[in-house]
């Protein structure tokens, strides 16, 4: 018996003339996400994408799980492919759905006939197939309102498809269809969630991490690589830049007032991220900032950070509570990694009493005493680049 996965587009279906390019992007991402599950071919018709294994032994369950994380998919299901012949449909349904039907107490049949040349109308298909399944599985009862299982028959152009309930997809729009942005990733809980959320809106991710050896350790760096890897099922690929930040932090520490340290540091981070973004055709920055979470994320602090860059700064978790962010972090499996207790560069040299209502004038004045242009050049030039892809093997083992 042939099986395939039916992928229902979400929002993409609403795109007008661009729809094709969105769908192509989605197929490209889906293909990459299936690396390791076997060979699959993709074709599309009637706002459905067909994902069919080309050889025996493909990991269908694995593929289904991977595809559930691909943005742009509203729903998906694993289905049996049947000849458009009612006898064949009956026989296949009884056998293919055996385990599901045995475990259910109630069911109903739904038919969708988009190929109107098929001889039976939808209500007739439902009635006849329902009756046949009842005769094969006498313990079942029909419940059209709240059935345990809905058996769906779709009569389409290329064939008929049999499946039970469809699974929800990840939603959103295909990664890469909205351009590219640079995520500032610290290793905490919020930034991976912010990256995930923007990938969901179709952005391809690059990421920049600031390391401050010897104040931060190799394990902190590996942790960030791990977090980026955790984003791969959603983001397809992440190019990570690890920027050495120690000298710049020390310069700030030595030349600027203590209470402005964190803000000036964050402004320098924005500037470096902007440089890397522009060199790599990223059109925005992404941060995991949330209003009021810490001293550097008050409205006033955000304003002085924001102004350090010409690029738009996307802050998808800006209005979320920590508990809401944690819920998503758990869902995308970054939480346990994020809470590993390695120092990150934001907690080195933390001021005792950081300014919560900074004035831009004070900051600019303080920065006049700071000459870090050369260090920034060097940091950008010497940034370590780590390319992570869903269809590549893991880069490094994490301790």
């Amino acid at each position: 018996m042939r099986e395939l996965i039916l992928i229902k587009n979400g929002e993409i279906a609403l795109k007008g003339l661009n729809r094709n390019s969105f769908e192509d992007k989605l197929i490209k991402n889906a293909k990459r996400s299936l690396a390791g599950c076997g060979q699959f071919k993709f074709y599309k018709a009637q706002s459905t994408i067909y994902c069919e294994p080309v050889e025996e032994g493909a990991d269908m369950a694995g593929a289904l799980e991977r595809l559930q994380k691909v943005f742009g998919i509203a729903a998906l299901c694993r289905a049996a492919v049947v000849e458009k012949d009612f006898e064949a449909i009956k026989a296949t349904a009884a056998a293919y759905l055996k385990d599901t039907l045995r475990a259910a107490r109630t069911f109903k049949v739904e038919a969708k006939r988009s190929d109107k040349s098929f001889a039976m109308a939808s209500p007739e298909i439902c009635r006849e197939l329902g009756g046949y399944l009842l005769s094969q599985y006498p313990h079942l009862r029909v419940d059209v309102h709240r059935p345990d299982v809905t058996v769906t028959v779709e009569i389409r152009d290329f064939g008929a498809y049999l499946h039970t309930d469809q699974l929800p997809g990840a939603g959103g729009i295909p990664v890469g269809s909205g351009g590219k942005a640079m995520l500032l990733i610290s290793g905490g809980i919020d930034s991976p969630v912010a990256g995930y959320m923007m990938a969901k809106r179709g952005l391809e991710l690059e990421a920049v991490h600031f390391a401050a050896p010897p104040y931060t350790s190799e394990r902190a760096r590996l942790k960030v690589i791990r977090l980026c890897e955790k984003l791969l099922p959603y983001a397809v690929s992440v190019r990570l830049y690890v920027v050495g930040f120690t000298e710049i932090q020390v310069a700030i520490r030595q030349n600027c007032p203590e209470d402005l340290f964190t803000l000036i540091m964050r402004r320098q981070m924005m500037k470096i991220a902007e440089r890397l973004a522009e060199e790599n055709r990223c059109e925005a920055l992404i941060t995991g900032e949330s209003v009021g979470q810490v001293a550097s994320q008050t409205m006033q602090a955000l304003a002085v950070t924001d102004i350090a860059t010409r690029l738009p700064v996307l802050r998808p978790v800006i209005g979320m509570d920590k508990t809401e962010i944690i819920r998503i972090a758990r869902q995308i499996d970054t939480f346990e990694t994020s809470i590993l207790p390695y120092e990150d560069c934001c907690t080195v040299f933390t001021p005792r009493h950081p300014k919560t209502k900074p004035r831009l004038g004070d900051i600019l004045k303080a920065e006049e005493r700071l000459d870090v242009a050369a260090q920034i050049d060097q940091a950008v030039r010497e940034a370590e680049v780590i390319q992570l892809c869903a269809d590549w093997p893991r880069q490094e083992e994490i301790i």
């Binding site: 050896p213 010897p214 104040y215 931060t216 350790s217 190799e218 020390v250 520490r253 030595q254 203590e258 207790p341 120092e343 907690t347 080195v348 040299f349 933390t350 005792r352 490094e396």
Partner: protein
Amino acid sequence: MEKTAQNAFPEAYLDHSATTRVSSHVAQVVLEMMTENYGNPSSLHHRGVLAQQALERARRQIASALGAREEEIIFTSGGTEANNLAIQGLARARRRRGDGLVTSGMEHSSVLGAVHHMEEEGFRAVLLAPGPDGRIQPESVAAAVDEKTLLVSCMLVNNETGAVNPIGEISAAAKAKNPDVVIHCDAVQAFGKLPIDVRRLGVDLMTVSGHKIHAPKGVGALYVKKGVRLVPLVYGGSQERALRPGTENVPLACGFGAAAEDMLRGMAENTARFEALRRRLISGAEKIEGVCINSAPGGAPYIVNLSCPGIRSEIMLHFLEGRGIYVSSGSACSKGAKSHVLAAMGLGQERIDSALRVSFCRESTEEEVDRLLEGLAAGIAMLEKNRGRQR
């Protein structure tokens, strides 16, 4: 994956109390036992006999390094298992006779963890603090022992400071108070590096481990004095007197035996080397402003605990790492945790927060010590300059 900064320097690994490199001799023994003498000691045929003979030889090697009899040695998966078998096994075997467990707060986490677990099973634990020299005093042990005390567990060499506990006196003091009390000694940091005689020390149970003396990770042993009954942690066949059932890990046991014999043979020479290295390190450190030595004199010569007050351990550790020098902050087993041993010695918070442990092996060199001293001086110069205030 090596960072370029580290490649610029030859490596100076000075963290041998965390673990050691397996010596080529030991690796050879292990390989031979895996690929040639591969039998199961329980098999009745010739292959089984050959493997059993090799295992018994290893047992003799461990026994003679402890002054014990070979039938008193139980091979385990390492120090943690041996400590658990000793504490849980003894407490359960004697639960009708009493409920008291006496140990020190400076024990390895596997001792403290096992004792804590026994508390949950209804036993009573007393944790003793070391004195200002970092050692457990026999008098405080005697004071803690009563007629319901089953076990006193005390380490021989402290893993953080190198302090050597007076186990012989502790045993005598405890037994004077209650002759039935059983003495367990975790000798993981001492085995192979200090002379040990279980009879002279008056201990009934002693834990030793392989990977601190150039044997592989995953093997250790428990000395169980004849007549001391333990309840096993796992059940199965009759291997290791049914105290540790399961097919014996013959390759690692043999590697451990060979490593122990090597250490025993080189002990005098090694000790002289350790002492010279320690002298060099301490006298060099005294010349660097901002370094102080935490280890009290008279401790094991292969462990030196020092502090650079004001610079958190982790930061200096990573600074040294950048120069290819590897030391430890506190003990490697409790990553990041604050040292209760140094606190018990009465050191101030700054000293504790900045403590580093340097530990030698028989192959450590003066050059490595010099590089460490240079590294400390450079680290203090740089980190002090950077520092306004750290968290």
